[in-house]
């Protein structure tokens, strides 16, 4: 059953931030990927013409920041066409890529098409997690791509996902970023959805690891000054207040999955009891303003205690619905990251267990690499 938009919520503004997950296909197998673990059973990808229609309809509603992501968006050979259409319509386009497949001819074509910005993610492209920093192949690929990005006069923006197995190398990572000429580095601690949720027991760092990484980052920041700006995103499991996830569902963010399913957050597909509309059947306007899936968590009427009467509810919107669902089984509960949540012990418990595991054996269970076969794909 759908609920009407809460009486206390004004008409939602436009979906300013449009994220197109062009494909779930990806040459990498990252254990911290937030893509759904059943991505192999997701329906066929939208065709070029369908993506262009999404861009037109969203732009007419007021979408202006465009993320092109995946999977690896460069796997789509129509990426240049999509970028050119976005530019023509007035989007500011951001490509979020691992760099695998970013050859000079493609980068030249993307620049020509009007791509505004590139964020290069640093991932492990081998199955040997612990060796990834010494993985020459990865380093050479990233260096080559970094050089190309500078040659085509894009700012060099590097994103590195941190977890238990690499957080101790944060100093090496920052030095590598400096050698690559990075101007911005985002050290983003893993968020536990999708494949990362499946591997949480293996990826959560200890409080000690986190503290050391922050100290190393602070020292590095002092040394390089304004030459390189570093953002250290603390994992929310170590916080006592939740993140204002998506600035509230259905407020500014509209994500379109590879098969055309519209989502109020990339991870929302897992939320039970909601039917997410497809751009193949429903207009973007109707999806954004009328669909029960986008109205469900707008406003405050859905909130339970302690959120409902909390003076901070307008700031953090009760945190993340997906995290509430994954940890407590009810997406309308407070995000258990909040220490006012009756379920907060589930978060501190996970961190405590992680610390015990680290103290005992470093690898109790095997990691599950993001993999086509593991994802439910039919052979």
């Amino acid at each position: 059953m759908s609920e009407p938009v809460a009486a206390d919520s004004p008409t939602p503004g436009p979906p300013l931030w449009l994220l197109l997950e062009l494909t779930y296909r990806c040459p990498l197998h990252c254990v911290f990927c937030y893509n759904p673990t059943d991505f192999g059973s997701v329906g066929r990808e939208l065709e070029t013409g369908e993506w262009l229609r999404v861009l037109e309809e969203a732009r007419a509603l007021g979408s202006v920041q465009l993320g092109l992501s995946g999977g690896e968006p460069l796997v789509r050979d129509d990426l240049e066409t999509i970028v050119a259409a976005a530019r023509r319509l007035g989007f500011y386009s951001n490509l979020i890529t691992s760099g695998v497949g970013l050859t000079e001819p493609r980068l030249e074509a993307l620049k020509e098409a009007g791509l505004d910005h590139i964020q290069l993610s640093f991932q492990d492209s081998t199955r040997r997690m612990n060796d990834f920093l010494s993985s020459t192949r990865t380093f050479e690929l990233k260096s080559r791509v970094a050089e190309l990005i500078r040659k085509y006069r894009y700012p060099m923006v590097l994103n590195v996902v941190l977890h238990r197995l690499n957080i101790d190398h944060v100093g090496d990572i920052l030095e590598m970023a400096e050698r690559m000429g990075a101007e911005y580095v985002e050290l983003a601690n893993t968020q536990y959805y999708g494949w990362a949720w499946r591997n949480r027991g293996q990826l959560l760092p200890s409080r000690d690891q986190l503290r050391r990484a922050e100290e190393v980052t602070a020292r590095f920041r002092e040394r390089v000054g304004s030459r390189m700006r570093i953002f250290f995103v603390v994992p929310d499991y170590f916080e006592t207040r939740p993140k204002p996830c998506m600035n509230g569902l259905g407020r500014i963010f509209l994500g379109i999955a590879p098969d055309g399913i519209a989502l109020p957050c990339q991870a929302a597909r897992m939320l039970p009891g909601l039917t997410f509309p497809s751009v193949r059947e429903t207009s973007i306007r109707s999806i954004w303003y009328d669909s029960p899936a986008f109205n469900r968590y707008r406003g405050e009427a859905w909130m339970k205690e302690p959120c409902r009467s909390c003076p901070e509810r307008g700031r953090d919107f009760g945190g993340c619905r997906c995290q509430a669902y994954l940890l407590t089984g009810d997406a309308a509960n407070a995000d258990p990251v909040c220490d006012l949540s009756p379920h907060h012990h589930l978060v501190t418990g996970a961190v405590n267990r992680a610390e015990q595991d680290i103290a005992a054996t470093p690898r109790a269970q095997p990691l599950v690499f993001r993999d086509h076969r593991e994802s439910g794909a039919r052979e």
């Binding site: 436009p14 007021g62 202006v64 920041q65 910005h117 006069r153």
Partner: protein, 93 residues
């Protein structure tokens, strides 16, 4: 103390930023990687004139003419100074 801006400098929109009119919001905005700044009418009046052709003196004169006002120099320069600090504009000469 705020440094004085050379009235002969020719400001232009900073690299990585794009200034455009948003019909859906009825405002000018500045776009940058994963971000957006909504501009007031007076901020938009100044930034739309930061085209690398006009000098700061030209921009002031232009705006005074457009608004049939005088003595706007210090307001315009203060805003350009702020815009420089945010890298919204760069100075050519």
């Amino acid at each position: 103390m705020m440094a004085d801006i050379d009235s002969a400098a020719r400001p232009t929109i900073g690299g990585g930023f794009r200034l455009q009119w948003e019909p859906a919001q009825g405002t000018h905005v500045l776009l940058y990687p994963e971000g957006i700044v909504r501009l007031s009418r007076s901020a938009a009046a100044i930034l739309t004139r930061c085209d690398g052709q006009r000098t700061v003196a030209n921009i002031v004169a232009d705006i005074e003419r457009a608004y049939s006002a005088s003595g706007l120099s210090s307001d315009v320069c203060a805003f350009i100074q702020l815009a420089l600090e945010h890298n919204w504009v760069e100075l050519g000469s």
